[in-house]
Subunit: 322 residues, 2 copies
């Protein structure tokens, strides 16, 4: 039994903007480690155009090599019907994912900038993708800039709720609410999560918070208080919005998995994650990128007051990491 | 009118474990900037033994040079009656501080390790310091490891409350509750803060949280919810417990002032801090240490939804800082 369901996003969201190609074998090893640790949702890859995002040129090769664990949802991101057709072909070949995500932006200008389509065009695109999916996957909707847009400012909760309802009408039962550039506050998180749960109860909301302004964990707790039980996170906090590419500058990054797991477990919220292996896996993620990442418990060890009071010390290799 | 009172700790707590001496003129400039920004409590220096902590060998020189602002409490840390005598001498010479802090540890083993005295011996020491202070300063009590000890584990709230009562009996009206090694949780923070406020209502509690495990802001909000209105923080998150010296390893660091101010203001909590100058001051602190620090809004800019919705962009010099 777990109280929350965490999706580990390192291999897809985390690597999306990494300039160097991470070898397929490394990605496969990490995904298998994540499953062994207890993650039941894992972002595996993206069916992006390899010319645009070479990091995921190995999508089908990776999935062919990947050893699956029972009860785990492996997610692939799809940007258009062609991507969904590739996902369907991999299913037909016996090595598909069992979950795909469909992305919209809650603001017109972010949609134009990030997806290069108007919101109306992107919704047409999403409907075509849902049709192409043909019932073969669990569908996950993702709504960017749900708590505020760097171009347009405040986003009306009604807009987000209408998007969640559109997803629901397509049979989507899980929708992530993305704080793409760190504009959410505990107040706006509580308000929107309560509204979504009340207005579209058949949809399970997923909290997807970025740590752009250091508020990732603060906003997770606000969502948890508002009844949200699904959260996205990434080891080392890598990923998040492409600050340098599109917004000029800025710290970016997802909520840090290892710090999130440590916080939740210290609160008695059961994550289902094997704490004894958590920090070594965080180090494996750092090794995959060849640099120290943002996890603090990776350096400090987990809170010794978690659970039975046995201290979980930082792994030896991290002692002088930074 | 402000809703909270923040103490800027960069120049004392922040520099305590920095290996290189920061010039007196730099310290003076920073303290004057902090006052101009709106901080009404500022840690200025420590009357430490210069042979043990050479960073503060310039305590009296700094205070002699420092231009004061009305309504600001400038704090000096005192470890023993000799330190308080130096503080009194500076007052007599016309350039003293108007606040000193007196430190105890809530656990026996942390007291022995950090202060090299038993708790009973340290309380004798504190009583001697309070007597030597002779009513010339606002006294601030500081209780280390109030939310858990890295050596002994859980700390009984009754122990902390008894310490707050001892401080109150000495005329101390402000007591900081220190989460020295990041073992506090929102639950333990809420519980202890409520207990202290109820048991010793004449004392104003101060939240002093470290970001050892990424939970600094989470714990500030829990304390705020529990009625705490005074908080300590440090630009760039520098300072905190001496991880490498005493605990072998570990990320350390105070709550990051610029991220804290951004979060509080985004919640409508008035800090009294000039937001237009906040990030340039964060950069000045980075310049003083010659390296990028931990502030995220320093890179990302303040939340554009703060206040009237006008974006506060990151300063140009930080755009490619990291």
């Amino acid at each position: 039994m777990t109280d929350v369901t965490l999706c580990e996003c390192f291999v897809r969201d985390g690597l999306q903007h990494e300039p160097d190609f991470v070898p397929t074998a490394t990605k496969r090893d990490l995904i298998e480690r994540f499953a062994a640790l207890g993650f039941t949702r894992i972002e595996a890859t993206s069916y992006s155009n390899p010319k645009v995002v070479p990091q995921f040129a190995d999508a089908s090769d990776l999935l062919r090599a990947l050893r699956r664990s029972d009860g785990v949802h492996y997610k692939a991101t799809c940007a258009n019907p062609r991507a969904v057709e590739r996902a369907v072909a991999d299913v037909a070949a016996g090595h598909g994912v069992n979950e795909i995500s469909l992305l919209v932006s809650a603001s017109e200008q972010h949609s134009q900038t990030n997806l290069r389509r108007s919101r109306a065009e992107q919704w047409d695109n999403v409907r075509a993708m849902a049709a192409a999916a043909d019932g073969r996957f669990r569908l996950v909707g993702s709504i960017s800039v749900a708590f505020g847009c760097p171009f347009e400012g405040a986003v009306a909760p009604e807009t987000v709720i209408a998007d969640v309802e559109r997803f629901a009408a397509l049979g989507v039962r899980h929708v992530s609410l993305g704080d793409t550039t760190g504009m959410a506050t505990p107040q706006s998180v509580a308000a929107l999560c309560h509204l979504v749960r009340r207005a579209v109860p058949e949809v399970t909301p997923i909290g997807h918070f970025h740590d752009t302004r250091g508020t990732g964990l603060v906003n997770v707790l606000a969502a948890l208080d508002a009844g949200v039980r699904f959260f996205d996170a990434s080891f080392g906090g890598v990923g998040g919005h492409p600050a340098k590419v599109r917004y000029g500058s800025g710290f970016t990054g997802n909520v840090c998995t290892e710090d999130l797991v440590g916080l939740l477990e210290s609160l008695g919220v059961r994550t289902g994650i094997d704490l004894a292996g958590l920090l070594d896996t965080a180090l494996a993620c750092e090794a995959a990128l060849g640099r120290p990442l943002h996890g603090r418990v990776t350096r400090s060890g987990l809170n010794p007051l978690i659970g039975d009071g046995t201290a979980v010390a930082p792994p030896a290799a991290a002692a002088h990491g930074r």
